[in-house]
Symmetry: C2
Subunit: 310 residues, 2 copies
């Protein structure tokens, strides 16, 4: 009934507990007559993006976009030299940028993400992502997608799962590449958003992006966003930081067999090693409580045969 | 390639310009090689709900739910006898209810829609809709769905369209019945929403509905909501009031061949006749400007062979 992927499933995973847990879960929920069987309409899986589907170090990809845009726009904004978050960016002080806190980051985001139409913004992102290079790997960010997670997406879709991205990243930023990169269409991408206004000028309608936060989709915002957009509880959730904790909790405490998986980045050679340090990518509670909650913890070093997509 | 509906398409429509315009549009956008051809991933159609897919007179169905809930809860709220919008409801003064304005209506909605979990709310709606009866037709509201519009939904889906509901109604109210009634799954229902909060109590997570508006999806809010949820511009839009004007404008002023249709309720015998009177259901600008914009105006009296679903 289901079309199987051409290759053996999860072929870029090493054999081990995480790979077997994923295969076992998929078998249980898709085998008619099994007590954990779930009809295909309810087979919904949600994935965090940064650090779960692609690289998020040394900074989330969207932060690199912000930095490059600030630099590009700086000549038109001499006043930025005297404003803290902008000055840190222009000085190349990345630690300083991340230390400006939520208000400072919001200021940077608004200066680079608002004041234009949705079409114009998507064009900027597309142009940027086609040329930007990762500072360490010197490759396009779109190359730095985790092949093992692409395998998971393919396996789930081959078993009639609908796959969603649920990220704290900007939804209109992500939608420019998620379909090509992950096979996830725009309507299955959920993220943070700013206020958008419908404006008609000379008979031509446009959606204008306003410098005001509409929704921030991190932490407890993730189950809330899932409810707003999907309207039913997914049965599988994939994340990598404590920003995903509530989403995994929501998915795995439902009436159905729910699957939770956390990617623990512990491979400094092939990628990055990080977990308990404070910051957006912090992973502590998930490591402490995940196993007791039946969540699968992936160790990149041991469990992934390959890291980036081929 | 496409599976055709079992019956001739649009069989509850009388032959005439609107029926032919729908069939012609579907043929153009789904015929490979035609200049208006649209790949199936971009075949997105949006439908208003109240007055477009089901009856909205003498009051929108959700307003009847509010009234019945206020009555049911009144014994626990003696203070309501002194509060204007509540008193109008308890006195059965429907004109008074509709005259309280947006603030008064919001008060009534919050008193009946908030302060409980999403699951508890969905349960209340399901119980109500199973027993409530329309005041004139004495039938369940779920019987008062327009068969010709069900025909349109079936025709579009048979041609690989993804069909969405985009309504000013409460999204969690609608999601309890849209799948059964229209074949539209929860994730394709877009509407107004209140703030929802993720709360964990004794280890059990729940989404709690707070008495605060999150998004109101009428008028210019419709294209905004389409952008937030779908992230691409639909190619067909169906509405019945000026609350749908911006949505039709957005859809029909895109780079692609866009189809706009307005249902004009002019059949007081079989259903209701209404248009230019002020109120939520007002249709004036759409009648004045629609034809010049190439929109199809449906006259229920002439164009629909049958009104309600069989």
């Amino acid at each position: 009934m289901n079309s199987e992927p051409a290759n053996p499933p999860l072929s870029s995973w090493r054999d081990g507990a995480p790979r077997r847990a994923i295969l076992d879960f998929v078998a249980r929920v898709t085998t008619a007559g099994h007590p954990d069987f779930v009809p295909s309409a309810d087979r919904i899986a949600v994935f965090d993006n940064d650090g779960t589907l692609w690289v998020e170090q040394p900074l989330p990809v969207q932060a690199h976009f912000v930095i490059d845009r600030i630099r590009a726009l700086a000549p038109q904004h001499p006043e930025w030299q005297g404003l803290k978050p902008f000055k840190a960016v222009l000085d190349g002080d990345l630690a300083g940028v991340m230390a400006v806190g939520m208000d400072g980051l919001t200021e940077l985001v608004m200066a680079t993400h608002a004041g234009m139409s949705t079409d114009a913004f998507a064009g900027l992102v597309r142009d940027w992502i086609a040329t930007a290079r990762h500072p360490r790997f010197h490759r396009p960010y779109t190359d730095l997608v985790y092949q093992p997670m692409l395998d998971v997406l393919a396996l789930l879709r081959a078993h009639d799962f609908k796959t969603y991205i649920v990220s704290a990243g900007g939804v209109e930023f992500m939608r420019t590449f998620c379909e090509t990169l992950y096979g996830v269409p725009p309507e299955q991408v959920i993220g943070s958003s700013i206020v958008t206004k419908y404006v008609v000028k000379d008979g031509e309608p446009a959606l204008m992006r306003e410098p005001q936060l509409h929704f921030f989709g991190d932490k407890e915002g993730k189950p809330v966003a899932i409810n707003t957009h999907i309207g039913r509880r997914p049965i599988a959730a994939f994340g990598n930081s404590d920003g995903d904790f509530a989403m995994l909790e929501w998915v795995t405490r439902g009436p159905r067999a729910g699957f939770g998986l956390i990617v623990h980045h512990d491979d400094a050679d092939r990628e990055y090693a990080y977990d308990r340090d404070p910051g957006l990518a912090r992973l502590a509670r998930g490591l402490d409580e995940g196993p007791g909650r039946g969540w699968t913890i992936v160790h990149v070093k041991d469990d992934w045969d390959r890291v980036f997509r081929s």
